[in-house]
Symmetry: C2
Subunit: 354 residues, 2 copies
């Protein structure tokens, strides 16, 4: 197979009767150019079989228009939803997404290095945190880093999260108001900020209000590990009458075990509350009461923030928190009051004295 | 914030006491280099804060080591599983994944053009087919294209698929052997090769064996559309006693509607069979009998084929078909014979005369 000589931007400019800079702008996402010019350039490019060269463009503009995205744990419906929204959001701003999936348990630095070699304009980390060393390297290189649905214990890195702690507090209050007396908590990954913050809110509210601490098991945010944890919790003589599961993905696993292995009815024998409001949580079989992490607002905040950080890499660190709601469905006994309609959805708005 | 002068490969070579070409090989995925040399280079790079430049490397090697991947429809658990496996498989071969998600219903060409501008080494399309024009462009530019879980009607493009037609035939035989008499078929996207081929196998076997054609509805591979289609099918006076749903994602929607809106018991009142063997299909609540499309073998075949195509862009088109099994679970009435154990799994191996 022989390759024809590749047409250049100069060839296109000549045929379209425009300047070479107009050709360049026509193929730079977001660049300013008259629609009529853009169409003339596109037509000339089509005729000549010209393809713009993003690599050459990135050398000229010193902007790659690539954003590195680390994601994994796609078994949890929340993350596929996030990926789709993020991809659309970044594409709309003229960015491509270089996706990499760190292996669970393996240090992500070597893979991140390869992503950084592409001179990405920014990094969005949705499934890993950053080592201090790599955070320093990114800062030295002026590459903005944003954590999605997590915060960093060590170096201060900008982040977008849901209301993990407030969600945990509200769920504790909701379950106590619903008359539950033996509460359980199913933790996710112990070193994740989401699990820590949700537990802090849940256990914190219980302690402040004179209730015993919840029975506790660890489900690692995984279906199998959550199933095993549910077996341990439900086999106890002092079985909990309500379990706050660290996310919906684990809550569906607990529901499966409770029904199919222990013959329990939900919520008559056991109340379940999850976190995220995603995927199967909304199906009638699960109908999970869950604290929401609304994907589109979280992704919108992420795209806006990352674009700002690219424009101004020296801007101070920011932590955006996107508001959620405790959505009341059928998986947990309802308190006698405090559940109010919000559109077609029932939400928990506790009635407080004063 | 001031940036230090960026260390160069020459600085690293000098400090490590190796040639510049050794530095380059140390940072080229898959390149041959002694481990001891690689470590000396890595240490020198770390001390100097040197980051390899993949953009410069791609200009030298004329290989970007980026593969463009089009995916979407992540609501169906099959695709997140594919993405994770594909990302790991490509990373292991030293490739990065430039992911883009074509908007449903919109022509993907403009987005593909931007991906091609990155001089990707290959394109894997898991959620869209290629227009003839773009296929020609890719061929002219020597960019291998591979269709995943789909085939192309128009220009001949290499592909990796499951056994769509054979799966459809086996499911028809299985349901008839199980004593079902009014079969339904829930189609996916009408213009998708998967839906066409599965239906061809299903309806073809029925016709060849003297059975009436199945009742037919279209679920577009979407949860909501499949739910609506299920309502139409189940409200008929001649309601089917078994439905072959074009994939598991639609089958879970049908199960939800059948149970929670029509009060049907599965499989006593209605048998369901899906396709894919993915995610919730395996949960006890659904326990779907399903023809499998094994993700890891499909992805392994894809990664191997795409690497071959990159090495030899002139190689002839290939269509790899990965073998599946009809996995027998609880959602469909079983035939009196033909179900055999395969490891911990029951599969359908029809007993044939002769």
């Amino acid at each position: 197979m022989s390759r024809k000589r590749q047409a250049t931007a100069t060839d296109v400019a000549r045929l379209a009767g425009v300047s070479q800079s107009a050709v360049s702008r026509a193929f730079t996402p977001g660049a300013s150019i008259a629609e009529e010019t853009r169409e003339r350039v596109a037509e000339a490019a089509r005729q000549l079989g010209y393809r713009p060269n993003a690599i050459a463009r990135s050398l000229t503009t010193r902007r790659s228009r690539i954003i590195g995205v680390a994601a994994s744990y796609l078994q949890n419906h929340f993350y596929p939803d996030v990926l789709e929204a993020l991809s659309r959001g970044l594409q709309a701003r003229g960015y491509q997404m270089l996706l990499f999936m760190p292996d669970a348990g393996r240090h992500a630095d070597p893979q991140l290095q390869e992503v950084l070699a592409w001179r990405v304009d920014a990094l969005i980390l949705a499934s890993t945190t950053l080592s201090s060393e790599l955070a320093d390297q990114c800062q030295a290189a002026g590459i903005p880093v944003l954590l999605f649905n997590r915060t960093s214990r060590g170096p201060s890195v900008s982040s977008v999260t849901g209301e993990n702690e407030r969600g945990g507090r509200l769920i504790a209050e909701f379950l106590v108001a619903g008359g539950h007396r033996r509460l359980g908590f199913l933790a996710g990954l112990e070193n994740s900020s989401t699990s820590r913050d949700r537990e802090k809110g849940f256990a914190g509210w219980l302690a402040e209000n004179g209730h015993p601490p919840p029975l506790r098991e660890v489900g690692l945010y995984q279906f199998e590990a959550a199933s095993a944890a549910a077996r341990r919790l439900l086999a106890r003589p002092d079985r909990p009458d309500a379990i706050f599961c660290g996310n919906d993905h684990m809550a569906t696993a607990v529901a499966e075990v409770a029904r199919h292995e222990f013959g329990l009815r939900i919520p008559r024998d056991l109340s379940l509350v999850g976190f995220d409001d995603t995927g199967p949580a909304r199906w009638p079989s699960f109908s999970l009461t869950s604290f929401s992490q609304p994907v589109q607002p979280m992704v919108d905040a992420t795209v806006a923030l990352v674009c700002e950080m690219i424009e101004n890499p020296a801007a101070p660190t920011r932590h955006e928190v996107v508001r959620g709601e405790l959505l009341v469905r059928g998986s947990a006994r309802m308190p006698p009051e405090g559940c109010v309609s919000l559109g077609e959805q029932l939400v928990w708005r506790p009635v407080r004295d004063g």
